[in-house]
């Protein structure tokens, strides 16, 4: 399992393929993934860009613990969390969560668990750039 915070843009589908190549073919029967992407609108305003900040050290520790918790609750073969920080433009991927298991029940449930806990507890913060200035995002939208 791997949790990573990355300062540079990434291609989530290429990351998924590359990571899966490291898994034993035939061992997993299901993969569920979630990709969160930056929108160009929020709270009724056009958003031109975004800066994502995190708490280095605490974020990685939190995400690693979250993966371990998911692996205790579901029979997972592997899981991956990749999250951007730094300057983002609309359309840029923000987060990739991927879960592999023998069957789809575990992958769907664990993937949802991971992204919801990440969004509500992992120490990341978004600051949006609007036409007329910047603002911190105060809360995430409900799923």
């Amino acid at each position: 399992m791997r949790a990573e915070v990355r300062e540079r843009p990434f291609d989530p589908l290429a990351e998924l393929v590359a990571y899966q190549q490291g898994l034993a073919a035939g061992a997993y029967g299901a993969l569920t993934s979630f990709v969160g992407t930056m929108r160009d609108f929020n709270e009724g305003d056009a958003v031109l860009g975004m800066r994502l900040e995190h708490y280095p050290g605490m974020t990685e520790r939190f995400l690693e613990r979250l993966l371990a918790e998911a692996a205790e609750r579901w029979p997972l073969l592997d899981a991956l969390i990749l999250h951007r920080v730094g300057a983002l433009a609309p359309g840029d991927p923000i987060v990739l969560v991927a879960v592999w298991s023998a069957h789809r029940g575990a992958t769907f449930e664990a993937c949802r668990f991971l992204i919801e806990r990440l969004k509500s507890e992992a120490p990341f913060w978004k600051k949006e750039r609007l036409q007329d200035g910047e603002r911190w995002v105060e809360h995430n939208t409900p799923g």
Partner: protein
Amino acid sequence: MQIRVRFFASLRDGLGLSDRAVELPAGATVADVWAAASDGRERPPAILAARNMEYTDYGTPVADGDEVAFFPPVTGG
């Protein structure tokens, strides 16, 4: 005892402060760290606290050398 204090995101911008060290007597709690590090400012609602990179409560005692962080609700993902 000495505590390293860190502020993040809108809280850091609001206080104009990202990082500082405070000196506190034995028995001090996370709430005491806030009071000392913010120069007695009222704590904005919903501000979260972490002690040594783990979420914590304001009543938790701190120890010499701890890192205590304060930050607003998180918005990642």
